[in-house]
């Protein structure tokens, strides 16, 4: 045990003297991710809010064909812009979000009581324009509804006859859940923080030490290699854990500045969230440290190790991406899969949904087992003859 602590303390001391490592652990790793995240969310939210309230400018071709419709649009906040010559091209080139065209036949059809047609020119692949298109469509629909009601009444028919079915929306998503959907990226940022925090040490303590030719003298000491490895892993995990802790704290602060209440969402990011997140992430930090050390042990040089570890960083992105692309229902087995378990647990905690002690225990235990397995594999690699030899 004493030799494990000796190795641990030496690695921590040595790496604390490396300014770049300290910057990565204490600044870049923990602060970048929450900062980017908050900025991103802020941007999305304020843009959505802007669009809902702002007047909607729409170029209209043939406005003179339907003065009543134009009046109705104006009342609902649509600003009628002068006609443009090539609307299709303008939309394709994104100089206009959408264009409304009212054909000359509109008045005639309207007076005859036949369906009058207006054309909405837009590009469905433009996400940016989507909310404007939806808004204009619902305004025109509303105008059509009102007119049909008036016409039916004028003919002495009850307007209800034209509406045999009504849908009443009963949205069951809680305010927290709506927030959580936007925040499903957050666990990835925490996991990424742990990756960045441990990376420098995982490389330095294995591939770096071999490249600097200090591994062979180190192994000449009367200490089992598995103990040396444990000390090194401990130091790697300690740095990763520091990064994660700062990352969670930074997020808890930054979270206060997000305009979540404007969207009617509440996030549970109090001390309880922080503590449980830390607990779920704890075994994952050790798993990541072991994986990084394992990858670094295969590399011949510092540079090669950096390449391997950068590739390894994409692994935790996979469950996050899959989960945001494919809607899923949380099942018990998910807690038992490292990375997925953390993803699910942290997302649910943030949404303020109940995560049972058994589920957290399952997530913790299975990740811990995976960490031990990877440690044992790394330990085998460490015992290999080739590992110590630099040339």
């Amino acid at each position: 045990m004493r030799s494990i602590i000796t190795v641990f303390l030496k690695e921590v001391r040595e790496n604390l003297r490396d300014r770049r490592t300290v910057m990565n652990t204490l600044l870049t790793g923990p602060l970048m991710a929450p900062l980017i995240f908050v900025l991103l969310i802020n941007g999305i939210v304020s843009r959505e809010l802007d669009k809902a309230e702002k007047p909607l400018p729409v170029p209209v071709i043939g406005a003179e064909n339907a003065p009543n419709l134009i009046d109705a649009l104006k009342q609902r906040g649509v600003i009628i812009k002068p006609a443009i010559s090539a609307p299709e091209q303008a939309v394709r080139e994104q100089t206009a979000d959408l264009v409304l065209r009212i054909p000359p036949s509109y008045g005639e059809a309207w007076n005859k009581g036949e369906p009058a047609q207006v054309e909405l020119i837009f590009d469905d692949s433009q996400r940016d324009a989507k909310s404007s298109v939806e808004r204009l469509r619902s305004i025109i629909d509303g105008y059509a509804q009102r007119t049909s009601t008036l016409r039916l009444v004028a003919r002495g028919i009850s307007p209800t006859i034209a509406r045999p079915l009504v849908i009443a929306d009963r949205d069951q998503s809680t305010a927290q859940a709506r927030g959580g959907m936007m925040f499903s990226m957050l666990p990835y940022f925490f996991i990424l923080g742990a990756f960045i925090g441990g990376m420098a040490l995982a490389i330095d303590t294995t591939a770096g030490e071999r490249e600097r030719q200090s591994l062979e003298p180190l192994f000449a000491n009367p200490v089992a290699r598995s103990k040396i490895l444990l000390g090194k892993l401990g130091a790697t995990a300690a740095f990763a854990l520091t990064t994660l802790l700062l990352s969670i704290i930074a997020f808890s602060f930054a979270g206060q500045f997000m305009p979540t209440e404007k969207l009617g969402m509440t996030l549970s990011i109090g001390p309880r969230f922080a503590l449980l997140t830390l607990l779920t992430m704890l075994p994952l930090v050790f798993l990541i440290a072991s994986l990084q050390t394992l990858a670094a042990a295969f590399a011949k040089t510092f540079r090669e190790a950096q390449t391997y570890l950068s590739l390894l960083m994409f692994v935790p992105a996979v469950p996050t991406m899959l989960m945001s692309i494919f809607p899923f229902k949380v099942e018990t087995w998910m807690y038992a899969v490292p990375l997925v378990g953390q993803q699910v647990t942290i997302t649910r905690l943030m949404r303020g949904e109940a995560v049972s002690a058994a589920e957290i225990a399952l997530c913790f235990a299975s990740t811990a087992i995976a960490a031990v397995v990877v440690y044992l594999i790394t330990s085998r690699i460490y015992k290999g003859e080739r590992l110590a030899i630099s040339t």
Binding site: S3, E14, N15, R212, Q213, E216, P217, E385, S390, T391
Partner: protein
């Protein structure tokens, strides 16, 4: 005392060490001479248990390295071919680290560092970070860290490699100093003059075999020449890979 018995080690089809046996006694300097690539480093690596021999036995003070490698390492002071230091630590911190890994207490480490500091004349550099050290300063630190636990057996792989004339002289004096303390000193070299000047016993290795194992006088007698360097060339069969 170090005994090697019929050591074999192959890397793929290449037999790096092929039946090497010799004994290095206490109070003597034993030199392992051979051209580059003769198998010196591999032999020493098996001795300090970094590598496992395919067959054969290593005994250090009677302890079998295959049975209790950790006890063997405790009895050895090793200066390997690779002698990298931790650049962000001072010379003293580098040495202390190895002292703690040897299981020594802090007071003993401090006292021992004082002693080594004097013997190796490294008072000026002991509290400096090792980044930017000269080759000689690096080797001094590496030797002090290898010998921090006062080992009875000292193994040095090409200890004068890369040293300038003054540092080489100091190194040779230090090896004699270790011998005078009654230790078993085993070092490898490809420099004939160095081995001739220092050793009580010379083991000559070529192509993984021991081709001679004798005192300098016996070696001259065996080869029938009064010049030791001629004797080396004669037993090896060529001067390739050796240095005068």
């Amino acid at each position: 005392m170090i005994e090697l018995k019929a050591l074999n080690k192959a890397f793929g089809t290449v037999k790096a060490v092929d039946g090497v046996s010799f004994t290095a006694r206490n109070g003597e300097i034993t030199g392992l001479l051979g051209p580059n690539g003769a198998g010196k480093t591999t032999t020493l690596r098996m001795l300090y248990t970094l590598m496992k021999p395919d067959s054969g036995q290593v005994l250090v003070d009677g302890i079998d390295a295959a049975v209790d490698p950790i006890a063997v390492r405790r009895r050895l002071g090793v200066l390997p071919d690779a002698r990298g230091l931790y650049k962000r630590l001072t010379s003293r911190e580098n040495i202390e680290y190895f002292g703690r890994l040897q299981g020594m207490d802090e007071a003993t480490i401090a006292a021992r560092i004082d002693g080594l500091c004097q013997a190796l004349d490294m008072g000026e550099i002991i509290d400096r970070r090792t980044d930017g050290f000269s080759q000689g300063q690096r080797v001094k630190t590496a030797i002090a860290r290898a010998l921090i636990h006062d080992p009875k057996n000292c193994i040095l792989d090409e200890p004068t490699n890369g040293l300038d004339v003054m540092a080489t002289r100091a190194m040779r004096d230090f090896l004699r100093h270790l011998k005078a303390e009654g230790r078993c000193v085993l070092f490898s070299s490809h420099i004939m003059q160095e081995v001739g000047a220092l050793c009580d016993r010379i083991v000559v290795i070529a192509h993984g075999h021991v081709v001679a194992d004798a005192s300098p006088d016996e070696l001259r007698e065996q080869a029938g020449t009064s010049n030791l360097e001629d004797a080396f060339v004669k037993v090896i069969g060529s001067a390739e890979g050796l240095a005068a």
